[in-house]
């Protein structure tokens, strides 16, 4: 498994995880019934590819909606990135009027020990 490329749909986000260069991007909406089933391959990818000390990665998250079970899975994903030896930065995008998504980013930032950049975007 070298890269993950998933097209987004009405329930699950677009996912682009690449190895050359290392990058992770999740965008769209994440409201699947079974979030664990959707996110498990993404968790496995982190375990398999973020094992190099000295490497760096940007984790870009640009979500419009996510349900509470997805919020748990995103937490699991970020915790695995945090535990890896790869130096990571999270780019958390939110629409400038969307204070809920800003607060969600702030909450992850408070829990996870990875540099966060909270980036407002125009709608």
């Amino acid at each position: 498994m070298s890269a993950i490329s998933l097209t987004g749909n009405s329930k699950t986000p677009e996912v682009q995880f690449n190895t050359e260069p290392l990058s992770m991007a999740i965008s769209g909406r994440s409201i699947p019934e079974n979030s664990i089933e959707f996110y498990q391959p993404l968790l496995d990818w982190v375990d398999q590819h973020l094992h190099t000390s000295g490497a760096s990665i940007e984790v870009a998250i640009r979500l419009e909606y996510f349900n509470t079970s997805s919020s748990k899975c995103i937490m699991d994903l970020l915790k695995r990135v945090e535990k890896s030896p790869t130096e990571a930065t999270v780019l958390w995008y939110y629409e400038e009027e969307d204070e809920d998504m800003l607060e969600a980013g702030e909450d992850y930032d408070a829990i996870i020990d990875i540099p966060f950049k909270l980036i407002a975007t125009a709608e």
Binding site: I31, T68, K72, A110, I111
Partner: protein, 183 residues
């Protein structure tokens, strides 16, 4: 010359809000499947394109509907005779109501969690949700018990939970959640 329409003053007197009129937007009775949820969300997003609600309120409405519908899917499917879901609107206030059956034990558990949340301030709802998120604990459906926090926060506390009895060990729980226009 009369136009046939009520004067401005009369018009104000018969506004929807003042006579308590709510437009029934959608009603669903029976089992909630994944397909049902998908259809309702697609309908809601299409409906929101015609509404005057600000973007944040639109998103909050969708987020609350998703949480409530997925809750019904997880907890109300087997007892679908008493599963009900409605969305109503009155100007820019939207009301979502759900009903599903539960046992006495489930009712006690839900009441306990609800009463604990009712003791908290909005900022404490956020802190409580963050703590549950950080804990790594999960419910059997993967949510980690933060759905109530989420609904309370997205509605800014405009949620009621009431019960009625079917039998000695069967009850109906009704959630009424409202998305109000921001002041």
């Amino acid at each position: 010359m009369s136009s046939g329409f009520p004067s401005k003053q009369q018009s104000a007197l018969i506004s929807n809000e003042e006579i308590g009129f709510q437009q029934l937007e959608l009603q669903w009775l029976g089992p909630i499947s994944e397909h049902t949820i998908q259809c309702v969300i697609q309908w809601l997003e299409s409906r929101m394109e015609q509404s005057d609600l600000p973007s944040l309120q639109n998103k909050r409405l969708v987020r609350v509907v998703v949480e409530l519908l997925q809750n019904l899917h997880h907890h109300g499917y087997e007892d679908a005779d008493h599963t009900r879901f409605t969305i109503e609107s009155a100007h820019d206030k939207w009301t979502i109501q759900t009903e599903n059956e539960l046992t006495t034990e489930q009712r006690k558990n839900l009441e306990q969690r609800w009463n604990a949340l009712m003791q908290l301030t909005p900022e404490q709802w956020r802190i409580s949700q963050r703590e549950k998120l950080a804990s790594g604990n999960r419910s059997s459906h993967g949510g980690g018990g933060i759905g109530l926090n989420e609904i309370l926060r997205k509605t800014e506390g405009h949620v009621e939970m009431t019960f009625s009895n079917l039998t000695s060990n069967a009850h109906i729980v009704r959630f009424t959640a409202q998305i109000h226009p921001r002041k």
